[in-house]
């Protein structure tokens, strides 16, 4: 049970860590000062949430586990984030599209997690949902602004949505840990969030004059630790200091 709980927490937290890392890469590189600050603020929120989850995961795991070695010392196959969040910052349209496709899911997910019978997870969710509602607001606004902007911004946003759409189905796949935790009253039935997700995403994209891709084929694997090529490079950055100077502290 403890090990399943540990796996379950990772399934939530790894998404926050990896997306936080991606957004952190934009520090000093955002297209404008305000968006730069916004992306790094969102990154900070996500990393804060990650810390809460990993501290709890370390307790569930026991032994020598700490939030730091969970974050920095796992191998690529041991990270169970969805493929969507590890996709690169290609351009601002991709950054926003990735954020939006995740935020809508994240908000729906946290809304359910708030009523988990696990008090710690419910408390983290109640804290995080307040922050994530600002994230979703920010990304939806930019989806509309770029989608319904100039021809160039529209085309770029449409391309980003077309490319990233293929990673959205995985959000709703339930792992063995998910299923065990749902039975225990702890976990969220993500497969049930699909309908609300599609509705909300469609509403915003329609307002943004962006066509919904009619892809029938979707990528998956992240939740089983099988990642896209980008993940190795991301982890190389993320883990560099701990791999080079093991156990270093600030």
């Amino acid at each position: 049970m403890k090990d399943t709980l540990y796996q379950y927490i990772l399934g939530i937290a790894d998404n926050c860590l990896i997306l936080g890392q991606r957004l952190g890469e934009l520090c000093g590189h955002g297209p404008s000062l305000e968006t730069d600050i916004a992306c790094t603020n969102i990154s900070l929120d996500l990393l804060g949430q990650t810390r809460s989850y990993y501290q709890y995961a370390a307790k569930a795991k026991g032994g020598n586990a700490t939030e730091d070695n969970i974050a920095f010392l796992r191998k690529e196959r041991e990270y169970v984030n969805v493929l969507l969040v590890e996709q690169p910052n290609t351009d601002f349209a991709y950054t926003i599209a990735r954020q939006f496709l995740f935020d809508v899911y994240h908000l729906l997910f946290l809304n359910e997690l708030q009523s988990s019978t696990d008090m710690t997870l419910a408390a983290i969710a109640k804290k995080a949902i307040k922050e994530v509602s600002y994230h979703e607001r920010f990304s939806s606004d930019w989806i509309k602004r770029l989608g319904d902007g100039t021809k160039e911004s529209h085309d770029k946003m449409q391309k980003a949505i077309n490319d990233l759409w293929t990673y959205t189905d995985e959000l709703f796949h339930q792992t063995l840990a998910d299923e065990a935790m749902i039975i225990a009253g702890i976990g969220v039935e993500t497969s049930k969030l699909r309908e609300a997700y599609d509705q909300q995403v469609t509403d915003i994209l329609t307002e943004a004059t962006i066509a919904i891709p009619d892809t029938k084929w979707f990528q998956k694997g992240g939740k089983k630790g099988i990642h896209t090529e980008h993940m190795g490079y991301l982890l190389n950055d993320l883990q560099y200091m701990q791999r080079t100077y093991p156990n270093m502290e600030w």
Partner: protein, 166 residues
């Protein structure tokens, strides 16, 4: 888990009052509503603090500052971070709001007005320089996780707004 009630032992108030958020030095952590409990147990002070935002980097510093301040007064202490109930801007005291305004950070008016200011674009936030409410949201994200950026349309000064969490 703790309740919304704050429990702070009387003799600890003057000590904790001197500890402030490093990002907002004018505001004591008590006025900010960050300290949830501070009780003396067998000569050890047990403090529970709650973060404003999950990723607030000031929390580690605040924890250390609390322990240092208590140590100066001869107390050993433990500091625990609690998440529930989640912090809200409603916990900033009246005195705290005043201190924020004087420092140049507009304070949240109240919870519902606050959402309108940040999400509906209503012009209800007062400029900290000239007092005009003819102000505009520049970005929902500011220099720290707990602040949004505004600009006054009358005196043209930019200013921070302490962002609502509700």
């Amino acid at each position: 888990m703790i309740s919304e009630e704050v429990h702070i032992a009387k003799e600890l108030i003057p000590i904790l009052e001197k500890v402030s958020d490093p990002e907002i030095p004018v505001l004591s952590i008590l006025e900010m509503g960050v300290v949830r409990t501070a009780v003396i147990n067998d000569n050890v002070v047990e403090v529970q603090i709650t973060p404003t935002y999950s990723g607030c980097p000031a929390m580690d510093v605040i924890g250390d500052d609390i322990q240092a301040a208590l140590k100066r007064e001869g107390y050993q202490s433990t500091v625990e971070l609690v998440l529930s109930p989640a912090w809200t801007t409603d916990w900033i005291t009246v005195k705290g709001r005043k201190a924020l305004e004087d420092y140049g950070i507009a304070a949240p008016l109240n919870a519902s007005a606050d959402k309108e200011a940040l999400l509906e674009g209503k012009r209800i936030v007062k400029c900290t320089q000239c007092g005009s409410t003819n102000t505009q949201l520049v970005s929902q994200f500011g220099s720290t996780a707990c602040k949004a950026m505004f600009q006054c349309e009358d005196c043209k000064e930019p200013f921070d707004y302490f962002k609502c969490l509700k």
